[in-house]
C-alpha cells in the first residue's frame, strides 16, 4: 500500500512522497525506512513523519533498545574484570566500558564502581556486528554530565517513544516541572530513567510525572505539572497530621 506523511504505516508499505520527488535534493531516510532500487519501504509499524527539509522516519512504539552511535544511555554495571566493565544497556548484547574512559582516570587512579551501580554514558561504537562500547567522557576528556549516577536516586524503565518525547527540545515537561520541584534526572535513550529529588515522595512524584507524560498531549503538560504539585502538597500535609 502506498502511504504519505502522517499516515500509520505497516512493514512493507511503500512511501509515495519520496518516489515522486524529482528535485535534486538530499533525502535522509531515518529509522524504519529502507530503500530498495527506486522504492522506499517501511520496515516498522508506526506513524510516518517528516522534518524539513527532507528527513523521513517512522515513529514507532517499542520497548526493546537497539543501540545507535552517539546516543546517551543509562546502563547497569554487571561485571568488573581486567580493564573493562560490562554494562547492561537493555540491548541484545552487553556493552563494554573501559575504566580509562572516565574523567581523570589513569592506570593507577581507577574509578570507584561496584557491580550494580548505574552509569550514564555515551555510545562510542554501535554497529550490528560488534559489541557496543561506551565512554563517560567527551572528546576533550571532560566528564560533563556523564559518569556514575548516585545510588540515592530511583531507576525505572519506560517505552522508547516516551524517552524521545521528553528529550525532544520542544517538550516543556522538564522546564515546567523544574518551576516547582528540585530534582536531578538522567534519561537514557534506552528507556531507562534515573531520578533523584530531596525526598522519597518527591522522587516518586517526578517519576509519576514522567510516566504520565506518555498519555498527555503537549497542551496537557501544564495541567499535569500542577496536578503533580497538588498531589505532593496533599501527601506532605498528610504526613504532618
Amino acid at each position: 500500500m502506498e502511504v504519505s506523511v502522517g499516515d500509520v504505516v505497516m512493514p512493507g508499505d511503500t512511501v509515495k512522497d519520496i518516489t515522486t520527488i524529482t528535485k535534486k535534493e538530499t533525502i535522509i531516510l531515518g529509522p524504519g525506512l529502507r530503500r530498495e532500487a527506486d522504492t522506499v519501504y517501511a520496515y516498522k509499524a508506526g506513524v510516518l513523519k517528516k522534518t524539513e527539509p527532507a528527513v523521513y522516519y517512522v515513529d514507532s512504539y517499542q520497548k526493546r533498545y537497539v543501540p545507535n552511535r552517539g546516543e546517551h544511555v543509562v546502563g547497569i554495571v554487571t561485571q568488573k574484570g581486567g580493564d573493562i566493565f560490562k554494562v547492561d544497556i537493555g540491548a541484545s548484547e552487553q556493552a563494554s566500558l573501559s575504566y580509562l574512559a572516565f574523567e581523570g582516570a589513569t592506570k593507577k587512579n581507577r574509578p570507584d564502581i561496584q557491580v550494580g551501580d548505574l552509569v550514564f554514558a555515551k555510545l562510542l561504537v554501535a554497529s550490528k556486528d560488534m559489541e557496543p562500547e561506551l565512554v563517560c567522557v567527551d572528546s576533550h576528556g571532560k566528564e560533563k554530565k556523564l559518569g556514575i549516577l548516585s545510588s540515592e536516586g530511583m531507576l525505572f524503565s519506560c517505552s522508547l517513544s516516551l524517552i524521545r518525547k521528553i528529550l525532544n527540545h520542544n517538550s516543556p515537561l522538564f522546564n515546567m516541572l523544574a518551576h516547582s520541584q528540585a530534582f536531578e534526572v538522567a534519561a537514557g535513550m534506552n528507556g531507562r530513567v534515573w531520578v533523584k529529588a530531596r525526598t522519597i515522595q518527591e522522587t516518586i512524584a517526578i517519576a509519576t510525572a514522567i510516566l504520565a507524560a506518555e498519555y498527555a498531549p503537549l497542551s496537557g503538560i501544564k495541567k499535569l505539572c500542577s496536578d503533580i504539585e497538588k498531589t505532593l502538597l496533599l501527601t506532605q500535609s498528610g504526613n504532618v497530621d
Binding site: D117, S151, W194, I200, A212, Y215, T231
Partner: protein, 413 residues
Amino acid sequence: MKEVLLTNCEKNFVNKSVEQGTRLDGRSLLEARNVKIYFASNWGSCMVLLGQTRVVAQVTCDIQQPKTSRPNEGMLHINVELNPMAAQHFDSGRQSEISILISRQLEKCYQDSKCIDLESLCIIADKKVWNLRVDINVINHDGNLIDCASIATLAALSHFHRPDVTSNGEDIIVHPFSEKDPLPLTLYHYPVCVSFITFESGSTVMDPTYLEERVGVAQLTLGINSYRELCSLHFNYLTKTMTVEDVISAVSSYATNYAVQLVQQIKEAVNYDVEARYKKDDRNTNRFKECIMTKKLTTMNSECISIKLRKWSEIENIESDVDMEKKKEETENCTIIKPGIGSAELIPNTNISFGEGGPNTWNMSESSEEEISDIEITTVIKKEENKTIENIELNGDSEEENIEILETKDLMQ
C-alpha cells in the same frame, strides 16, 4: 535471556521508602492490588489480573485408572507453566525452579488440604475415575505469581463443570453437554494464598510487586480458606538475614480477613457467571473480551502508570468524588436491606448490634443451602451469645460445633 541485575539504586530506594511506609505504586504496606476475574467461553477457564500480573487457568478432565492406594478417588493435577512472554528471564520448555515451587505450593493448598470432593469423581471403583488437570499459564509477571495463580485455580475449579456419566451395568456412557446438564465439582472449602514480603528494616508488605520481591529478604505465603483455617504455609529466606522475626503472628489475622474477603469476591464472580450461563444470558458478564478494553490515551489513565503516590489518584478523581461517595452510601444501605445475598460487606454491618441491622439473617440459614458462608453465622453468634439462646438452638441444626460452644456457655452461666 538473563534477568536484569538488581541495581543498588533500586535496592536502596525501595528499602528506604518501605521504611517510611511508602510504596512505589501508592499502596499502603498491607494493601493488596485489585483482583479482576474474567471467564472464557467454556467451563473452568478463567483469566485473573492482580495489578499487572496476569494468569490464565484452565481445568480439563479425562477418565483414567485410579491409583491403587486410593481406588475410589479421583485425581487432581496442577501444572504451572512459565514462558518468556511473562518475563524475559523465564525459559520455555523445561520446568524451572520457580514453576516447580509455585505448582508445589498450589498442590499443598488445594490437593493436600482436600478441598475437592475427590470421591465424587469416582465412576467405577478401582477401574475408572475422573482425572482433573489444572493448567496455569502466566501471561505477565509483575510479582506475586503465587497469589494470582491460586485465585485463578480456585475460580477455575469452582467454575468447572464435568460431563455427566451414567452406567448400564458394564458400559459407562459419558453424556455430551447437549444431552445432560454438566455437573459442577464439590468443594468442601475455598482456600486462597496470601503472600507477604519482609524487608531489611523489618517491615512487611502484602502482595509484593516484582521489584519488591527482588529487594525483600523473607517471603511468606499463607494458604487460608473462608473458614479462617490455615491450609498451607510457606516461609522462605531469600538472603541471609537476622532481622526477620514474628512475621507470621504479625500478619496472620490481617491475612485471614483479606482471604475471607477475597474468597467472597471469587465466589460472587463465579456464581454470577455460572448463573448467566444457565440462563443463557451473555450480557453484563465478565468474559475474556471484556478485558481487552480499548483504552483512551489520557493522563487520567492511572492504571497504566506503575509508579505513583497515594494521593495521585485522588487528584484525578476530585470531580467524581462526590458522586462516588453517594453511590457508596447507597450500596451500603442495599446490603443491609437484602441479607440473603451473603456478601462480605454484611459482616461489618452486623456491628450495629443485633436486631437493628435489618431482618434476622439467622432464620434464613435454615431454608437456604449450606452455601451461605459460615463466617456470617459465627459472627452473628458472637454478637448475641447472651441475648437469645433459644433462637440459636432452634436453628443451629446445621452446625454441630456451634451448638457445643453455646451449651458450654450456657452451663457456665
